[in-house]
């Protein structure tokens, strides 16, 4: 019986491909746009995720994200170290600076000063060189996306830069997720970063904290806030702050929301129209089936099978399209680190199911009302 339904469905190839295309297209639209949306706003948290060993970030109470931070006096580090439950704490400097390249061009960069002794604050992996190069004089490590912007078509290793009248030599490339603005990032030791960044009174942007018990990071951050009067955020909280900052300060959520809604509407329109047309065309067949004694329940199951086939095929092709898209752009530095969160295909699956349920239910209403006599009309 199900097989008959499937034959019925694929009997008219045009309509069948129309249905599959409709589902595939809206799946593609919803999945791909949601993926880009999530990845774009997660760029706001890349600064946090690039530091792989800190459980808690401590900052001035007015600091909001990794890039919107107000510096603290240097004794804040010792204050944090004095809080029970803090296993270790290291200084972390983040500042904007202007760099003069060999050609004389001026480029805005983010300077990140990592702890001198332990190099905590560097990204986990390196593309070229090792973190130890920072022990050589005046060395900096550039991030890989910054490389493509600042040194297109050449290796940055050994290049000299001028930062705040100081010499800096690029000696390594870090594998980091770029920030929202894709600023070039230069990693160096904390003490050297102080020289690279024009002097202000306080320099310490963050204190990175390792918790004795990483599972208790939330409680630790609260204790740090209570005992030092500074603001402490766990890694996840601070990542969320970065995402929130982008949501609040850009039009991205609205833009992408509109596209996702369009995908849904296009899906409903194409699939709904085609599906109900298809059902209406086959109303005689359904009538015939009813005439030979097929129950409404069986017919309902047949329509569900038809919807299921269309759904699975369309959805599979749509997801395949998204993957092809992400995969083919993965080499592009703009899309560096883009990934498909596992929730998004489930969301689009739910959307597809909703579209099919809605249109199937509308179409079924006619079928169920059909008299067996319809076959003679």
């Amino acid at each position: 019986m199900i097989w008959i339904a499937i034959r019925m469905l694929t009997g008219d190839a045009q309509k069948f491909y129309g249905l599959v295309f409709g589902i595939a297209f809206s799946t593609l639209l919803i999945t791909q746009q949601l993926t880009i949306f999530v990845n774009l706003i997660e760029r706001g948290a890349s600064g946090v995720y690039n530091v792989s060993s800190a459980d808690v970030w401590v900052m001035d109470p007015v600091s909001r994200t990794t890039d919107v931070a107000y510096a603290m006096p240097s004794t804040a580090l010792d204050k944090v170290r004095g809080v029970p439950g803090v296993e270790w704490a290291v200084p972390h400097l983040r500042a904007q600076a202007s760099v003069r390249t060999k050609d004389g061009d001026l480029e805005g960069v983010a300077v990140i000063g990592v702890d001198d002794a332990t190099l905590i604050g560097l990204p986990k992996a390196m593309v070229e060189g090792s973190p130890d190069v920072l022990s050589q004089p005046d060395s900096v490590i550039i991030d890989d996306v910054g490389t493509t912007r600042m040194f297109p078509d050449q290796s940055p290793i050994g290049e000299r830069l001028e930062l705040n009248d100081q010499r800096a030599v690029v000696r390594g490339i870090a594998d980091a997720i770029p920030s929202f603005t894709s600023t070039v990032v230069l990693y160096t030791k904390y003490s050297r970063a102080l020289n690279f960044v024009p002097g202000t009174r306080n320099r310490l942007s963050f204190v990175l904290v390792g918790a004795e018990d990483p599972a208790q990071a939330k409680a630790l951050s609260e204790r740090i806030e209570r005992e030092t009067g500074l603001k402490a955020q766990t890694r996840d909280e601070f990542a969320r702050d970065g995402v929130q900052f982008i949501i609040e300060n850009t039009g991205i959520p609205l833009n992408f929301g509109i596209t996702v809604a369009l995908g849904f509407i296009v899906g409903v329109a194409i699939v709904g129209l085609t599906f109900s047309l298809f059902i209406r065309d086959n109303i005689k067949q359904f009538g015939a089936l009813k005439a030979i004694g097929v129950t409404n329940r069986k017919i309902r199951r047949m329509v569900i099978a038809q919807a299921g086939l269309v759904g699975i095929t369309g959805y599979g092709l749509g997801v395949l399209g998204t993957i092809a898209f992400i995969w083919s752009f993965s080499a592009n530095p703009t899309f560096k680190g883009f990934y498909i969160p596992w929730q998004i295909p489930l969301i689009s699956l739910a959307a597809v199911a909703l579209i099919l349920a809605l249109t199937g239910w509308l179409a079924l209403r006619n079928v169920l009302k059909t008299e067996p006599a319809a076959v003679f009309r």
Binding site: D55, V80, R81, I177, G210, I340
Partner: protein
Amino acid sequence: MAFNLRNLSFSRQILPVIAIVALLLAAIFIVSGLPDRTLSEPERDPPRAPEELADAPRVAGSGVVEPSSELIQIGSALSGLITGLYVQPGDRVTQGQLLFTVDDRAARAGLREAEAAIGEARAAIAEAQTARSTALRQLDLYRGVDDPAAVSRSEVIRAEGEASAAGERLSLARARLEAAQARAASARTEIGRLSIRAPIAGEILAVNIRKGEYVSTMGGGGSQPFIEMGQTQPLFVRIDIDEEQAARLKLGAPATVSPRGASDRQVQARFVRAEPLVVPKRSLTNSAAERVDVRVLQVLYALPDANSEEERLFRVGQQVDAYIPAVKAR
């Protein structure tokens, strides 16, 4: 329904299979593409609180290693060329040991001059004494004559005058001797001042002068001290504690100290004293123009002695991280 190639339909069979394969591929792609956001342990050990302070109230501070005598910057009382340099960095010296000498030719010439003057004065004394004894005997002779007609009155007056003049000449010569002796002593002092000696027993930490250089009493070139020394047995560390934390500090308790870059090698340092003066934080930021608004309490701790040169963990001027027990918050 037997499988039949002729019945194989693209839309009924191949397409759904493609779709299912695509879904499987997608699942693999998505799972393998998820970003690695797990927390990792730092590769190098950051300074950690010692075991016994891990969950106890504590205060952390950073500081600098210094000699227990504090750093002594040896100066020179007189300016001149350096003619001899007798120590090098790392030498242990005793109190009063010669460190370097400044050109003393002028002072020695002065000394020889004064010594010559002493000889001259001694000769003058001898000459004056002879003259005086001659004059006194002459006078005695005249006074011994009873017959007033034998010696004229004027002869007697002249003899008396000669005797007293000879006495004056003698005291003048004696005064000259004293002056010359004083000059010699002052020249010797000068020579002594041109040899610079160690004020205390200790270790030479830096030598910024070389033989033949000119040292001026106004300080060396770039106002570097000539020689820096200090008592390095034991070494002290000067820990800066934020004034807000100072009240919590348990004074008298030993501190756990580790040098920068070797945080796994922690040592116990004995409490020495807290400086009575709270000073503005001298940030160890290497920046030339340091502007401050944080004040710190400086607390001194004595580091344990190293057993051998190889085991020497702390050196003067090194930065350290310290953990100190705190009193329980009320």
